[in-house]
Symmetry: C2
């Protein structure tokens, strides 16, 4: 029986689902396969682990796979596409569709219908499609100049706020959490880390900012509220472009930042509502990997080998 | 006759002055000697060129040098201090004092007296000393999490604004200028550049943002105004710490960004005045290299070999 693979390759994890024409048969989550972060070898191992794990969970053989769809944050980069084409060809037979992570998540959220999806995981992006099937995106151009409101952005903002608090002679519980996360002991160590290459994993600080905010740390709460506002700005760019008048647009959100922080979601909703009163927020959980599986099942015939 | 060297090692240039006890005898400017940017070999060549050039201009021999003072943005980093100690020992005899670039510029601006200095060149920092000789600084922790309002920050903000404008479907004259500066031809090239290592030279975009602002580009003007506001926030952290009440504090500024942009200076002044009505702005030109020379002349005897 023909099998399909849906793969979600994020900055923190790689998830694969195996399905037939109608059902999900197995699923597995491995470490990140973002080659920009961990290099090709580690990324290849993670991708292989996710696929093998999902096939094992389904109790099926890879020889039955007829099409796979992989959603990756860096899918627009030639290097990522090439690595995926080569690596997938080694692991499984059948055709391959490579799309951005926003495409599979939008598919999972709106099943091909209109709406705006905000993704805030390690990176961030807003992506929408209107009733006339016109698409638009905002953000997601990488951590140095974009990815506003993402886990990476929050971690960088937290580190900057620590040093700003140090300059001002005020206290924040974030500093100790930053030191512990990166296993260093002094402020000088932090400065050395953030000015060397590769950069430290800023997104790893997100759970710490979340915990500090839960304990009432003002700085942490401010950073999360700012992140929500940044995400709203991305969504609003897309909304203004696709829906020039204030009709009821549905906004969904996915990724670790929005799914774990009520404060981020609330700040995002408020900032969107301030401009678009008719906006509706769909808070149902989104499974991007199932969006990838759907796209694998419905790949155009000429995408098959 | 004893000679003294004052050296200002910035992200764009290395300047050296040679003086005796009272006069400046010679001066020379070479390329950057920031090892984090150009590596040790190129940095060593620039530093040697600056020193040899200044001695040549003065018509004097290096054997007469009794003390040097070098101001470097990265002076707090062990690697920079070690490189300077080794390299200076090869070039010239005598003692060596290594301080932050903010120290020599503050010396040049206030001659040891109280005041706040804002530096905005490739990087940024605010540094102050009050009447009780207490010091405070803000910013200057490196481009990834700090250096707000600097040339680097302005270049990054301009690149981000270009892509944001692209997302929104609006036009900005900055995009063409970014493409030309980095000698690339597409938006994809920019995205590739800013997501690879080493990062492109964002500070090189500052003159382009300046030119666009002069031509009336709204986005460029907004970025420069935001930079001035960021610099004001750094100054205010220092002012609040050193002068808790609103007495007349003098603020001076140096570096390519503040010396070339009236808009940045004006925005900075306005934001500082909004909180500190009694603030005074000293707009006289500042020569950090002469501050370094002054510190070389007045080095404590135990700093001499």
């Amino acid at each position: 029986m023909p099998l399909y693979l849906g793969i979600d390759g994020g900055g923190t994890k790689t998830e694969c689902v195996v399905g037939d024409e109608t059902s999900v048969l197995g699923r597995f989550t491995a470490g990140t396969s973002k080659i920009q972060r961990v290099g090709r070898d580690a990324a290849t191992n993670s991708l292989r682990a996710a696929i093998q794990g999902a096939l094992y969970a389904a109790g099926r053989s890879r020889d039955e796979v007829v099409h796979s769809c992989a959603g990756y944050a860096g899918a627009s980069q030639a290097e990522v596409r090439q690595w995926l084409a080569e690596t997938m060809a080694e692991f499984v037979p059948g055709g391959l569709t490579v799309v951005g992570d926003h495409t599979i998540a939008h598919e999972a959220a709106f099943k091909g219908g209109p709406g705006v999806l905000v993704i805030a995981g390690t990176g961030s992006i807003a992506f929408g499609r209107n009733e006339r099937e016109q698409g638009a995106r905002a953000g997601g151009w990488g951590p140095v100049i974009s990815d506003e409101g993402s886990g990476e952005w929050i971690g960088r903002a937290a580190t900057a706020a620590c040093l700003r608090a140090f300059d001002a002679g005020t206290a924040t519980s974030i500093m100790v959490r930053v030191l512990n996360t990166w296993r260093v002991s002094t402020r000088e160590d932090i400065i050395r880390l953030v000015n060397s290459y590769p950069l430290p994993n800023f997104a790893a600080l997100f759970p710490q900012v979340l915990a500090a905010a839960d304990e009432g740390d003002t700085l942490a709460r401010e950073i999360l509220a700012r992140a929500g506002n940044e995400l709203a700005q991305l969504a609003l760019i897309v909304i203004r472009k696709l829906w020039p008048s204030d009709i009821p647009v549905t906004i969904a959100a996915s990724g670790g930042v929005v799914s774990n922080s009520t404060l981020v979601r609330q700040a995002m909703h408020n900032a969107i509502r301030a401009e678009r009163k008719a906006a509706r927020f769909d808070e149902s959980p989104i499974d991007p990997t199932e969006g990838a599986l759907y796209l694998a099942r419905h790949a155009p015939p000429d995408a098959r080998p």
